[in-house]
Symmetry: C2
């Protein structure tokens, strides 16, 4: 199969064309799930799938599938290549779309080369991976894998008060198929890294062997509002200072850890938020991630212990609310090895790595052997118009996807 290659120009043309669809008056890419903008992207994708001669199927949660099969392999479990085409607000053009369009490109190239797979090959675009309008994120693949009831998902009320099921009907993507109607032999997702590691290390490809577990918490610290001028330091119950101590604790602990643990405080609010009033309340969120479940639990426990001591030392009360918790996901070792083998056989540098972000692959991994391929993201930037992956990297990733798909389809 080393003579099989994708058509890089066609792939990049598709990525750029899809990236022009679904922009608002300010030019921002806003294909949020099940919106009119999302419909523009979906319609274009479906047209491409049809032009490529694939059978198009849509399930009840709006996941789109382009199926390449024939009479000789139609009974076999398919190899699935996929990702998503919904976007955040003011998105870049690679996140998700790259994996879907490279899946299409791999199938087209294999077809054009006369490749005869022993299994169907399917490209999938899962609904609402970003979770901007409807929570939770990765919803389409979660429903597909049986982790969320389809009726419950369709009843989800969005940030704009809309109901997902009604919106899918409105834009024409409430399909007839039950989620999970295809039972994949394997699932491979190609994605931009959305982080700085590959670029910094000068490595072309990442064979993603696992995906970090995520712990999201909201911490609310209550102190006492008092006059900033008249309250001696020793008599304060300052919720803001207590929050700052927790933020410093988390950053220093994660930085000092020999493990790839990361800790982020991305949001904060003080009340009453007045320049001359000691904060009575500080509310902030904690995003903890680790690829090892036991370590993630240790990080959560360390934070809880710190907050327990802080409540006493800072004379405040502290409560913690769990917002989200996903255990780490370990991908299929055979597919990870296949990715490495294929990369090396094609002369590309490759390293095993952990995904710090969530992806549809973590949901499909519940029902099928799965893995991911990463390519470098310039500056590690994502969820931003500046998101960029060089053409050479785009082509390399898609070629490896093709190679891995061909190998898996020959099983």
């Amino acid at each position: 199969m080393s003579n099989l290659t994708i058509n890089a120009d066609r792939l990049i043309g598709h990525i750029e064309e899809l990236g022009r669809l679904g922009r608002d008056e300010q030019g921002r890419l806003v294909r949020v799930a099940a919106s009119d903008m999302d419909r523009l992207g979906r319609d274009r994708l479906v047209a491409w799938l049809q032009e490529a001669g694939l059978d198009v199927a849509v399930d009840r949660i709006g996941n789109i599938f382009g199926i390449w099969q024939d009479d000789t392999n139609a009974g076999q479990a398919p190899v699935m290549l996929g990702s998503h085409i919904d976007t955040v607000i003011d998105a870049g053009i690679y996140d998700g779309c790259y994996g879907v369009l490279a899946g299409l490109e791999a199938i087209e190239s294999l077809k054009e080369a006369g490749f005869a797979p022993a299994r169907p090959i399917v490209v999938a675009a899962f609904t609402n991976e970003e979770g901007v309008r409807y929570a939770p994120d990765m919803m389409g693949s979660l429903v597909y894998a049986g982790g969320l009831d389809v009726e419950e998902a369709l009843a989800t009320v969005g940030t704009d008060g809309s109901v997902l099921g009604k919106e899918l009907e409105r834009i024409g993507y409430a399909g007839p198929h039950e989620p999970g109607f295809l039972d994949p032999h394997a699932y491979v997702e190609l994605h931009v890294e959305q982080g700085p590691v590959l670029e910094r290390e000068g490595i072309a490809l990442g064979a993603v062997e696992n995906l970090q577990g995520i712990s999201w918490q909201r911490i609310v610290i209550d102190g006492v509002a008092n006059h900033a001028g008249t309250t001696p330091m020793a008599m304060r119950s300052d919720a803001g200072v207590a929050a700052a101590r927790a933020i410093v604790f988390l950053a220093d602990r994660a930085a000092a850890s020999p493990t790839p643990t990361v800790a982020t405080v991305g949001t904060i609010a003080f009340e009453p938020n007045a320049i001359n009033v000691i904060p009575s309340r500080a509310t902030f969120t904690v995003d903890l991630r680790d690829s090892d479940e036991a370590r993630l639990g240790e990080e959560e426990a360390a934070l809880a212990a710190f907050l327990g001591g802080l409540a006493t030392s800072a004379n405040v009360s502290i409560r913690t609310e769990r917002l989200a918790r996903f255990a780490p996901v370990t991908f299929d070792p055979r597919i990870v090895s296949l990715i490495e083998d294929c990369a090396l056989a094609n002369g590309f540098s490759c390293r095993r790595m952990t995904s710090g972000a969530g992806h549809d692959a973590q949901m499909i991994a519940r029902v099928a052997p799965s893995a991911m391929i990463f390519v470098p993201s310039r500056g590690g930037i994502s969820h931003n118009p500046a998101e960029f992956t060089a053409a050479g990297h785009v082509a390399a990733g898609a070629n490896i996807l093709l190679g891995v798909a061909a190998r898996l389809a020959a099983d």
Copy 2:
């Protein structure tokens, strides 16, 4: 004069009656400067001044004066007792009003007792001490002391787009007198402490010998927004963590200081303020106060030095904007001693103290020997409906104000 005492019931009745005026539909006390609610309070005060037989004068910035003089003393510089009756939004009933109504009470009691002062005694209510609607605060006394041009002050545009001068005309308090038309022999302001010190120490009265200098700064830290999951700790430029380090630095430094320095971070904001995005920007305010100008400068310098090192160590850029800067004020030692003497002669415990809050007295101190008397605030609470000072403390403070005024008027 030890046989002269105020009428505590009348004083407390006045405080409570004024506290019922200027409440909104939710029952909140909202006598913000030059509003219709403020007019209700002003009209009632003026009626009381007239009932007490005082000459009422209003100056161009709306400051109200009740003047007790007769043919024998009309040519002398008056003793002025004052404060303000405008309030914050959802205020308590003591802040400011106590000082004005106790000044009126002292004059009425002296009159009723047949006391014949060698100087006029004047009670003053200064416009817009709180600064809620129009900046800066302490505006009426600042203009009176010549620190702000009256025309400039009258042209101030409020948070609601109104112009102070027009509003004063509308409510009938754009008076004919030039600010500063009375040249005080001395100024004494009685006020609730708005802090916890007197209550905690079980002391009845504070002889306020100075007032803290205030330094307000806004700090803006710029880092780089990146994905919370995919960006290793060592590769981050986290504006939020840098802000937290500055907050902890300020709190620890002020707490460890043997001086009465206080440092407060009352407001903060992260951008983009998303749970899974490393903050690209953190903006917070710093309120530093010290009663000694050199020490206040040292605190500012220490913060600047810390931020300089932080910019390097945290890989962020930091800029600082000065929002306000008032030098500490030292009150007149003779009046402070008079307050102490009078307190002790009446059997009250008394301590010298520093005012952490700003007051009209700091402005009038520019043009006349001035000092303040504090009484305990329950729980140190102020700018809040829970603001409370027990009747015994209210009476004690007013009796000392009477005694000090009588002594000063005998000069």
